[in-house]
């Protein structure tokens, strides 16, 4: 078994399959803690975890905060409105302040791709990317892989269909890197205006219709359609999007009978996913949320290694 050696978690593109496996393996005992009546272990006592969010988020931020609390770390939240600070210089200044306050782990969400790299270079604290622009959202992909591995036993050999706005989706990008590294086949499908050029270089296979993408799939991952994209002219109407790319019961029957239906949330019910599918027997959407806490506990644990900064 290998040990964790990185200071930060910036994306899945640079991780090896062994590193991903170590994170997923560490999340298994963490999940056991979540099933206890007293969800608390003393592991990170005295450590400070800061969530620094330059974009609105409830789910991801709460998940990180719970993960930190269950491991007995102190957590502090700093939310900045998206409009006020977007320049690299300000981020650096904020980072230095956090370092001076003694943060051990900084969790960053930022509208600009690459912001976590800049932060990681600036401070000694560990940095976790909680979503940067349209680049990566590694912890979401890790919790998706954990959920699939728990249900299917293994990731290698599975067929994963990711459907929706691939162009603007950091969740899709991280999942393509992650699942491909673990030996799964990834299909992507969405409106042509929302398909990044040369997406094939990531190893994903582009499907022109949702039917083609779903046929024989083991995992169906629906992406949230951002309704404001309609104003940019990327799709004509919500109704048409739902008709062409929405997942309903009839379409799901093309996938394997035991296929898992996933969604990173928050869902637009009746648009990208019908309520009967979102709440159906194949759906693991609620388990994704629970597993998110376990995976983030594993990351906080692994990234807190190497002793105290001043020890």
């Amino acid at each position: 078994m290998m040990n964790w050696k990185r200071k930060d978690l910036l994306g899945l593109k640079d991780l090896s399959a062994e590193e991903i496996k170590l994170i997923l393996d560490t999340a298994v005992p963490m999940k056991e803690i979540l099933g206890r009546r007293i969800k608390k272990v003393p592991t990170l006592r005295g450590r400070t975890v800061v969530t620094l969010f330059y974009e609105p988020s409830t789910r991801t931020r709460t998940s990180f905060e719970l993960a930190a609390k269950y491991l007995s770390a102190d957590s502090v939240n700093i939310s900045t409105s998206a409009s006020s600070v977007v320049k690299g210089e300000s981020l650096k200044d904020t980072a230095r302040t956090l370092a001076a306050m003694g943060a051990d782990v900084v969790i960053l969400r930022h509208p600009m791709a690459g912001a976590p790299v800049l932060l990681a270079r600036t401070i000694r604290a560990a940095v976790i990317n909680a979503g940067d622009g349209t680049h990566e959202h590694p912890t979401q992909a890790l919790l998706d892989m954990f959920t699939v591995r728990e249900k299917k036993g293994e990731l290698a050999g599975l067929t994963v269909a990711i459907i929706g706005d691939i162009l603007h989706s950091r969740v899709a990008r991280s999942n393509i890197w992650g699942f491909t590294k673990m030996g799964a086949r990834v299909r992507v499908c969405g409106p042509a205006t929302m398909m990044p050029p040369e997406i094939e270089v990531t190893g994903a296979q582009v499907c022109l219709s949702i039917e083609e993408a779903l046929t024989g799939a083991d995992v169906v991952m629906m992406l949230r359609i951002q309704l404001e994209r309609q104003q940019q002219g990327l799709f004509p109407s919500i109704r048409e999007y739902a008709r062409l790319f929405g997942l309903n019961r009839e379409r799901l029957s093309l996938a394997r009978p035991d296929a898992l239906v996933m969604h990173p949330g928050p869902m637009n019910r009746g648009v990208e996913i019908s309520p009967e599918v979102a709440d159906g027997v194949n759906s693991v959407i609620n388990e994704q949320v629970t597993n998110g806490v376990a995976v983030r506990m594993a990351l906080l644990y692994l990234l807190s290694g190497g002793g105290m900064p001043d020890a």
């Binding site: 040990n3 393996d25 005992p29 963490m30 272990v41 003393p42 807190s304 290694g305 190497g306």
Partner: protein, 179 residues
């Protein structure tokens, strides 16, 4: 690392565990409410063997759990890399049980301190007792074992290596010394 002495062979380990099994039954007046919890790694096969012996002697089955104490260690902030975390599997409620904690060697007592905290987080046992195959002395905390296979005076430079069939493919206890 130099091989210095063998302190228990296969038969020695078997006899020590048989005696401990009898002592556990005697001290607890049977197996009512009794449960064993082995500390990873080598406490786990020892706990299973004790449970099997108790079954032979009393004809009753006592539940066995597995404890990983990694998240409760007191030296995490001083280690260069985070040790691997394994699963804790205690498939029974510990509250109001008589828990016998099982490990291969007791040395500083820090592992047992961590294990006690870990068990307390799972519930409130009526009593916790400790069984070890070897007590090698040098305690750093006020902790003692209730059942001991063999007391072995050692120096701090020495290492007590318990080798079990299940984890190491052989059956003996050695004293090794750093060169």
């Amino acid at each position: 690392m130099r091989h210095k002495a063998q302190i228990l062979d296969k038969e020695g380990i078997r006899r020590a565990l048989t005696r401990i099994a009898h002592e556990i039954i005697e001290r607890n007046k049977g197996t009512d409410g009794l449960a064993l919890i082995g500390i990873r790694r080598r406490g786990v096969p020892l706990a299973e063997r004790l449970a099997a012996k108790i079954r032979e002697i009393e004809g009753s089955t006592v539940p066995v759990g597995t404890l990983d104490i990694t998240l409760y260690r007191d030296d995490l902030t001083t280690l260069a890399q985070q040790p691997l975390v394994h699963r804790t599997e205690v498939p029974f409620a510990v509250s109001d049980k008589k828990i016998v904690l099982v490990d291969d060697v007791i040395y500083t007592g820090r592992t047992i301190r961590a294990a006690l905290d870990a068990i307390m987080d799972l519930g409130r046992p009526r009593v916790i007792q400790l069984a070890v195959l070897v007590d090698r002395g040098h305690r750093e905390l006020p902790i003692r074992a209730d059942y001991v296979g063999k007391n072995v005076p050692t120096s701090r430079r020495e290492v007590v290596a318990v080798r079990l069939q299940e984890t190491d493919g052989e059956e003996r206890v050695l004293i090794l010394e750093n060169d």
